[in-house]
């Protein structure tokens, strides 16, 4: 029997080949920008200030556009930033119009960090608000590109009326999204893909604005010649590279001295050690820039433990940082990448299925927290790693579902 098994398989395979071969691969072959911005990278060569070479992810046009967007007024209800859009170019969606109950699907890259956790809860609560969504199917790719490709293929065959995708990486998910576009209306949010086939792509202004917000604050607050330490999580992640490349441009055009650019892996203990080492080596550090706020508190503590005043610092909208800021009356700023963007795709999907126009590129406002509006975002009843800009305060189940106390 053992010997015959392979033969049977081969025979079966041969029959199947004869009976017709199928491919789930998208038919379109052209890929427009394989290496975004490589040609632009040299556009901003500036005097060296210890910031190193510009990232190959840097695209001057996107940078300019994002920085300009920061001062524009978004359209839509001011008290619901997740429904607002900056410079929307509307597209018609009447061909997707559908009546009756809705089956909404979602391919999620991962829920492996607090930012995605908060966002995911926002999305689930948003879905709960709409009775017309009869079924909501979500698959979690657990941070694996390959799994997400299969997840998307599987979801498109499940009779979804619309598919929301939060891609794990940009380039590698593009073919899968293209294939899905041929079958259902697709809405992409957070990270983009290299195709414009999705009906709408939703995200806040973006990484350049985030990075520049923090760097400009330091340029304002730190005296000329001051030593700045830049802390990044890890290289190669597009949404983080843009943050740093924008900050680099700002620093290069300033009189600040960037004494180090270090990677922390997002690890609090490593962050604290790195900052302590820099304090030892340079005597003092006059400003700290970070590309994400998760380890900001650890950086602050490194100064406290060294018995030094905390210099101007850039964090993010996590509660532990905001609390420390308030408590110690820090000189700080918190650019944000709001988690309320997880509500928008659900709203967009419903609009599309009603045949209403949606922005092709739905740019959400991206506020920054300053000492003036700190009080508004500080929520002592929420967990330390909760993101303040969740836009979830009025959703059912708040605050308990987000881990907060009444």
């Amino acid at each position: 029997m053992r010997r015959s098994t392979p033969i049977v398989i081969v025979a079966a395979a041969a029959t199947l080949v004869a009976s017709g071969c199928t491919s789930d691969k998208p038919t379109t072959t052209a890929t427009q920008s394989q290496n975004p911005g490589a040609s632009q990278a040299s556009a901003t060569q500036a005097p060296a200030t210890g910031t190193g070479e510009q990232s190959k992810f840097f695209v001057q046009a996107d940078y300019d556009a994002q920085l300009a967007m920061r001062t524009k007024t978004a359209q839509g209800p001011a008290d619901k930033p997740w429904e607002q859009a900056i410079d929307p170019q509307m597209v018609g969606t009447s061909k997707y119009k559908k009546s009756g109950s809705i089956h909404l699907c979602f391919s999620n890259a991962a829920v492996n960090n607090p930012w995605r956790q908060v966002g995911w809860k926002n999305m689930q609560a948003e879905v709960g608000l709409h009775k017309e969504i009869a079924k909501f199917t979500a698959l979690d790719a657990e941070g694996k590109d390959d799994k997400q490709i299969s997840d998307i293929a599987e979801l498109t065959g499940k009779g979804c009326d619309a598919l929301i995708v939060s891609p794990n990486t940009t380039a590698t998910l593009t073919p899968a999204v293209k294939a899905a576009c041929e079958k259902v209306p697709v809405i992409v949010f957070d990270r983009g893909v290299e195709t414009d086939c999705p009906v709408s792509f939703i995200n806040p202004i973006g990484g350049y604005a985030f990075g520049a917000d923090g760097a400009e604050f330091l340029v304002e607050q730190v005296p000329a010649g001051g030593k700045v330490l830049a802390l990044r999580i890890l290289p190669g992640v597009d949404v983080l590279e843009t943050r740093w490349s924008a900050a680099k441009v700002t620093f290069d055009n300033s009189k600040l001295q960037v004494v180090g650019v270090e990677f922390t892996d997002g690890d609090a203990a490593k962050t604290k050690s790195i900052v302590s080492d820099y304090i030892q080596r340079h005597g003092k550090i006059d400003g700290v820039w970070m590309d994400a706020g998760a380890t900001a508190v650890a950086a602050i503590e490194a100064f406290e433990d060294a018995g030094l005043p905390v210099p101007p610092i850039v964090g993010e909208d996590q509660q532990d940082f905001l609390q420390k800021w308030k408590q110690n009356n820090l000189t700080a700023v918190a650019p944000t990448y709001p988690t309320y963007q997880w509500r928008t795709p659900v709203i967009a999907a419903l609009k599309i299925l009603k045949g209403e126009e949606v922005p092709k590129a739905w740019k959400l406002p991206q506020p920054k927290i300053t000492s003036e509006n700190l009080g508004k975002y500080l929520q002592p009843n929420m967990p330390p790693l909760h993101y303040a800009l969740c836009g979830c305060e009025s959703l059912p189940g708040f605050p308990e579902s987000w881990g907060g106390k009444k």
Partner: protein, 310 residues
């Protein structure tokens, strides 16, 4: 020869001192010890498991669990600190006990037992907290890892306890178990009990390391990530043979200090962040190769004697 690792450590510290003389001052050196403390403690615990011929891959996620549980239960309330500390220690002991019983009595290879435990722990704790850490640690909890004096004292205490334990009958029993299980059993050693205790010690060490790491850097969802590999690497750098039966706990802790010194040094000389891993990999393999001429290789499994006998 047994303590060759300390020569390497001294060389590394000297190299650090060239770039940063601060480490030669008492405050600088103590700060270094404080930073290394959690890894030193984990290595001490891992030593007992490895010398008995087993692995403990669950310590990294156990550290995460300890920190996340502490934050949720203490929730910023100073009064809750001591009861929670007691609970954390108990939790560490319990996890070690389960690892030990499944490995020693149910005869599951420890690599699998503790790999399973790693998945279970990291899944369970975030299932409990809804995905991300909640609550906050109290100041009196954080002092153990944050205050240099406390951190150094705890490390010394753990080190002393570990040395005493290896000098006691138990230490010799354990080495005999790891060296040749059948021979040990025949000469009256209660092999299973010795192994279970080794896992319990490792669990306890992970609990202490978790308390110190939470103290050092605060609440984080990935505080323990990769620590199991660092701890095993440290022990092996200290010349302890994987497969069991050989090595000293002092050298294992020396291995942890050496590993930490290596991180500091690579950081200090700014070896391109990325190639740091490459250097680390080469050093580790070279160090083991240099010391391994007569040591057993692969999975030496004294247990096979049993399987054949039955």
């Amino acid at each position: 020869m047994k303590y060759a690792i300390f020569v390497v450590l001294a060389l590394l510290l000297a190299a650090i001192a060239v770039a940063n003389p601060f480490i030669l001052e008492p405050a600088g050196f103590l700060a270094f010890v404080k930073r290394a403390a959690p890894l030193v403690i984990l290595a001490a615990g891992q030593y007992f498991v490895i010398v008995s011929g087993e692995f403990d891959l669950s310590v990294g996620s156990l550290v995460t669990v300890e920190v996340v549980v502490a934050a949720r239960l203490i929730d910023g309330n100073e009064a809750a600190t001591w009861p929670v500390l007691a609970l954390l220690i108990a939790l560490g002991l319990l996890v070690g006990l389960v690892n030990g019983v499944v490995t020693a009595l149910l005869r599951v290879p420890s690599f699998i037992t503790t790999l399973g435990m790693m998945l279970i722990l990291s899944g369970a704790v975030f299932l409990w907290t809804g995905g991300a850490p909640r609550g906050a640690l109290s100041q009196s909890f954080r002092v153990f890892g944050r205050d240099t004096l406390w951190a150094v004292l705890i490390t010394l205490a753990v080190g002393a306890a570990a040395v005493l334990l290896t000098r006691a009958t138990y230490g010799r029993t354990l080495i005999a178990t790891g060296d040749n299980e059948r021979a040990a059993a025949l000469s009256g050693v209660r092999v299973a009990r010795a192994r279970i205790l080794a896992f319990v010690i490792s669990g306890l060490a992970a609990a202490i390391a978790g308390i110190m790491l939470g103290g050092f850097a605060g609440v984080s969802a990935q505080v323990g990530q990769g620590l199991e590999f660092s701890a095993i690497t440290a022990v092996v750098l200290g010349g302890v043979a994987l497969g069991g039966g050989r090595g000293s706990v002092v050298a294992a802790m020396g291995g942890a200090l050496t590993l930490e010194a290596m991180f500091t040094l690579l950081n200090l000389y700014g070896i391109s962040g990325a190639l740091e891993y490459t250097v680390q990999g080469v050093i580790i393999v070279a160090a083991v190769a240099a010391g391994a001429v007569q040591l057993p290789r692969l999975f030496i499994t004294p247990r096979k004697g049993d399987a054949h006998a039955s």
